[in-house]
Symmetry: C2
Subunit: 400 residues, 2 copies
């Protein structure tokens, strides 16, 4: 059998799909090319301003700093919102490991902001079935990981009156399964080969999974939530590597008489070693974990965070830091909320008046505080709270 050629591979050496993110020749991901190839739109300042106006609050740091940089039909969602029409949010996670790293938190922190700002309901899918099929993990282990990950997600501060968290193993059935079948009918094997790069040697679990991630985009999959709001629109905040799932979903939706989901998509949170891909759960030194102690964080940043500073103090004072590749600066741009301070660091560090050590120290403080806050919040999440978030129930505070 010939190995099928994937969409990703014919168009260049940059590979971005749900299982692989790698830039051309070990360089940086070219997000402009990705936008062009995937066919989504860039988020511009006008759109950020509009979100601020509609929500009467400053845009989230990830929106103002361009971490969430691309979208599909987000303008349409804003048009409807401006006319009094609410929407719902859908995001998720594949629970393949117990400890989340900072990159995993990015979509959830942003989703919490969207929920608070727009006052809309949210469904969070934990694809324990996917991880069971992709990784060498048992059903039981994936279900356990889903529940552990749910605690980290809840710790991000979601509003229980507007949030339904579910794991596929616990929730699939009924109207959700009916939509899985409807989607499956519309997608050929050739099509998933084109979108996801499957081969004939892949098992049928992988091949049958894409509809599972597609159907939370349709409100009819959640009759306990959306029984009277069939035309409710869906907005999906996610990293752009998940785009293939939703290209497929958007392709299928009109044939089922459903609305296409809208997307708001982020770039990848870079590894400590440098910005050539996203952080990897398989290399513990490539990422800061929410379980790391302040001492771990200090050691990892001092030891592994790729610096754009020069090789000697003399040269650094002379040429300044290369901010394009500097990971401490990049991480601060994700998490240092004070725009003036970040601007100050940019200027001083870029000009060589501030040293890498100083920037790293500031980052260690920022991340230690963030991780410590998360740790405290997670410790307060009880099993009863997990049960409550995952209970199949109408949401009491859906749109108010």
């Amino acid at each position: 059998m010939t190995t099928p050629v994937t969409e990703q591979k014919v168009e260049g050496d940059q590979v971005v799909n749900p299982w692989e993110v790698s830039a051309k020749d070990g360089g940086k991901i070219d997000y402009d090319k990705l936008i062009e190839k995937f066919g989504c739109q860039r988020i511009d300042q006008t759109l950020v301003d509009r979100v601020e106006r509609l929500t009467s609050r400053p845009a989230h740091i990830f929106l103002r700093r361009g971490v969430f940089f691309a979208h599909r039909d987000f303008i349409e969602i804003m048009d409807l919102y401006e006319n009094g029409k609410k929407f719902y949010l859908y995001t998720g996670r594949g629970p393949s490991s117990e400890a989340l790293h900072l990159g995993h938190l990015v979509p959830f922190m942003f989703t919490k902001y969207l929920q608070d700002a727009f006052k809309v309901p949210l469904v969070i899918q934990l694809t324990d079935d996917e991880k069971c099929m992709w990784k060498n993990l048992s059903v039981e282990e994936c279900k356990r990981l889903a529940r552990e990950n749910a605690k980290d997600i809840i710790a991000c501060g979601f509003d229980i009156t507007r949030t339904f968290i579910f794991s596929d193993f616990n929730f699939i059935g009924g109207a959700f399964y009916e939509n899985m079948v409807r989607v499956s009918k519309c997608v050929t094997f050739n099509k998933v080969v084109g979108i996801f790069g499957f081969t004939n040697e892949d098992h049928i679990g992988k091949i049958s999974f894409p509809p599972v991630q597609a159907v939370p985009s349709f409100p009819s999959s959640f009759p306990h939530l959306f029984s009277n709001t069939k035309n409710l629109r869906c907005l999906i905040p996610c990293a752009i590597d998940q785009d293939p799932y939703f290209r497929m979903t958007r392709d299928v939706a009109p044939r089922l008489g459903y609305n296409k989901p809208s997307l708001i998509e982020s770039s990848f949170f870079p590894a400590l070693q440098g910005e050539t891909g996203k952080m990897s759960a398989s290399d513990p030194n490539s990422a800061i974990y929410v379980t790391d102690s302040s001492k771990d964080i200090k050691n990892k940043i001092n030891k592994y965070a790729f610096s754009g500073g020069q090789d000697s103090i003399e040269n650094h004072r002379k040429f300044g830091a290369n901010l394009e590749v500097d990971i401490p600066y990049k991480y601060l741009s994700f998490f240092l909320d004070d725009d003036a301070e970040l601007e100050h660091i940019k200027t001083e560090y870029g000009a060589g008046r501030m040293l890498t050590g100083e920037v790293k120290k500031r980052l260690i403080d920022v991340l230690s505080e963030l991780v410590e806050r998360h740790r405290r919040a997670r410790a307060a999440v009880t099993e009863e709270m997990v049960d409550a978030f995952m209970a199949v129930r109408p949401l009491p505070n859906m749109f108010s």
Copy 2:
């Protein structure tokens, strides 16, 4: 893309799979070749005698007349039964049409006998999801057909204290879905191409379905029934065209630590026009339906039942009927319970002393009575009874 070559097609012109049954050059299905190709065993008289001894009752007409003619590990099931170990039965139907024909009743009539004779629990799967994916039918229509078909199945006389009927759309989820995922992980696309003849142009619904039909073979798919009997064996009565599903299931089972299901398999109930395949729901004149009136039955048999009698009375008296191709005689061998009378017809009709008209008349009587009995039984099936059979519940009379 090249069209994959199927197991069925490389080994000859005879095609038998869940979607197609056709003999070589328009002739009869060669069941000996099928047994050899599929790798199952023939049921011999010793085994029939043993079943009679173990159950203290005469073998069912379909067993004694060789309608159920092949098996996989049925001897092992009987060995265990003789040592006091019970098993459970699993059969099913794809609800693609409202009216069942006699061929559809064959596995259910036989399964009822097995349930009564061995006093064992039974699960009946209605694959409404399969029919939604294969036919141009909506989810809603398939669910309706499943419920209508359940009434015909219940009318066959199953014991509600030992029988759980479920439709995939209503039941899939939980432990059943977990087993679907476990099976899916073990089967590659190449494998299902080999077994079922799928192509790259087939939609992923078809490709993802085989595990759905596989997992009722495992007691852990029904925790409400079999929570304390993980090693319970499963016996599947079905027509031999379903064998591919269970070859796949038996291949996968040991890798999951599960027992392989056993099978007891029937030949096809022939079309009125002759024994070249099975009856077709798409040609109403190829079959006797359980909804046909006595007048319909009389007309269809007189007009369409292929006769092995000679073209003139003179020749018939001289050469006798060709019983090998005679449909009225064949049908009587399925449904005329009196062995002595069938033997008499065989002798007299075969020798030309009995005419086709007389044999057809006897068949019309036998089938009219059968269909009338079914109609009365079905009319007595209430919606509440359907709910009761399909309720997810422990069976009160599981093994007693």
